[in-house]
């Protein structure tokens, strides 16, 4: 077949809008995932069973179903929950909100495992010493354990961030126009699906390969400091 690469220039606005949605999803899911992931990790490590059992159950449940299945679940549950809390029956929750909730939930489960490992890499004597100095739980966690834990797990958190960026393409299944969705839509309209998909793969490759290279370099620098 003959290629028409000019189609990429012609659809650059649509593709850029899609990339902006991908990046926005990535940013929000990353921030939300790390925030709730930290809370989940602390709950899992808590000595209160009422916290640790539900947190463990949630993380194991999310980790044993496909990402797409989780998106479908939250896509279905979020509008129900929202109408329950706000009292407005049938209040419309957009696909973007549902997708964002799904991404934050799934990523918080993945990140909580990384953060839990990071917290457990800090010797137990340190929080005990902090308590002995009269610190409260939040002081000991916030000023002694977590800063060191986050530093230890930085490389693996960044690697997970690259995977998260790739996973944002899964919002295609609920019809959102992220970068892949935009390319797909543009391809259907113009009949130039081959060029657009090859271009999409190339762009994802450049971004993710560049990011993994940067993470690798960062790893080497951190290793020297230690």
């Amino acid at each position: 077949m003959d290629f028409d690469w000019g189609i990429i220039l012609k659809s650059k606005d649509v593709l850029w809008d899609g990339m902006k949605l991908s990046l926005w999803l990535f940013g929000v899911a990353l921030a939300g995932g790390i925030f709730f992931g930290t809370l989940l990790a602390l709950a899992r490590l808590s000595s209160f069973r009422i916290l640790s059992i539900p947190a463990t159950g949630f993380v194991n449940l999310i980790r044993s179903i496909p990402f797409i299945m989780a998106i479908f679940w939250f896509y279905f549950l979020t509008p129900m929950m929202v109408s329950k809390f706000t009292g407005h029956q049938g209040e419309a929750v957009g696909p973007i909100t549902s997708a964002i909730v799904a991404f934050i939930m799934v990523e918080s489960a993945y990140y909580s495992e990384i953060i839990r490992a990071g917290i457990q890499s800090i010797p137990r004597g340190q929080p005990w010493a902090a308590y002995a100095l009269g610190m409260t739980y939040s002081q000991a966690m916030g000023t002694v354990v977590l800063p060191q834990a986050f530093r230890n797990m930085l490389p693996i958190m960044l690697t997970q961030a690259i995977i998260l960026f790739q996973d944002t393409s899964l919002v295609y299944v609920v019809g959102l126009k992220d970068f892949l969705g935009a390319a797909s839509k543009g391809g259907q309209l113009t009949g130039r699906i081959v060029e657009l998909y090859i271009f999409t793969a190339f762009v994802y490759f450049v971004i993710c390969f560049g990011a993994s290279w940067a993470v690798k370099r960062l790893n080497e620098r951190i290793a020297v400091i230690r």
Binding site: P66, F72, W73, F76, V194, A201, F205, C208
Partner: protein, 255 residues
């Protein structure tokens, strides 16, 4: 909640909705297992090549891993399914798209051998890059003296791999390989985007036909959990069976 929905007749050849779930489960298992065969074979070859002193094969294996790891699985799925038939000779492309037999036909959805093959190849080649990294890590975690001792005994390099390095390396990487194997079942759900009616797709279909979304998704979730637990326990059993006396088996220490 109304769980009897699964016993109702679906609007197609005498199947119940339970039948749809069973069919979805079967296709999830088939896609995943065939893809795993590709991933394990190709991944092992690539992983070994990355540790050999052969320069060009090593560079090829490294390039493979980087390309397949840094493009999202869904994009790869579309490349195999939509782009491949267009860039191969036209007659072959048409054959793939039109002439392959249908595997599943439901009233408003069907998929052919081509959707299944594209999904298996895509998932297999994607996972091969991850398996390759595990195999490489396993081989590199062995002391360098093992290779040297093998060579000093007069083994050729292929013999060193066959009799010295690989038997130990494969045992060491059973835990990370278990999680790759689990991931392949989960990732097989991306095949729904090209029309393969696997478990996630079927549960969505049931929810669309019956409006019993909660029941349909719960059933699929439970099946995924059963698959996950089955894999974890059988791999633990395998690890125990293959443990070399004198080496600490990770299976003994729990998860």
């Amino acid at each position: 909640m109304d769980w009897s929905v699964f016993l109702q007749k679906a609007p197609s050849g005498g199947m119940t909705y339970l039948g749809w779930l069973a069919s979805g489960t079967m296709w999830t298992l088939l896609v995943s297992i065939f893809a795993w065969l590709i991933a394990f074979t190709l991944g092992s070859i690539l992983g070994v090549l990355r540790t050999t002193p052969l320069r060009i094969p090593r560079a090829i294996a490294t390039a493979y891993v980087e390309v397949f790891r840094n493009v999202p699985l869904l994009v790869q799925m579309f490349i195999w399914y939509f782009v491949m038939p267009e860039v191969v000779p036209e007659s072959l492309g048409n054959y793939l798209k039109q002439d392959l037999p249908n595997l599943v036909e439901l009233p408003f959805a069907q998929f052919s051998m081509w959707e299944f093959t594209a999904a298996v190849i895509c998932l297999g080649m994607y996972t091969a890059s991850r398996v390759a990294e595990q195999v490489r890590a396993g081989i590199q975690s062995l002391p360098r003296g093992q290779t040297n001792a093998g060579l000093a005994m007069g083994f050729t390099l292929p013999q060193v791999y066959q009799f010295v390095l690989l038997p130990m390396a494969y045992r060491l990487i059973i835990p990370p390989m278990t999680s790759e194997f689990l991931t392949i079942f989960k990732n097989s759900s991306t095949a729904l985007t090209i029309g393969v009616l696997e478990l996630t797709a079927q549960s969505r279909q049931i929810s669309e036909y019956t409006f019993k979304t909660f029941e349909a998704f719960t059933a699929a979730t439970l099946i995924y959990i059963v698959i996950t637990l089955t894999v974890i326990y059988s791999m633990r059993w395998l690890e125990g069976r293959l443990a070399v006396p004198g080496f600490i088996s990770q299976a003994a220490g729990g998860h």
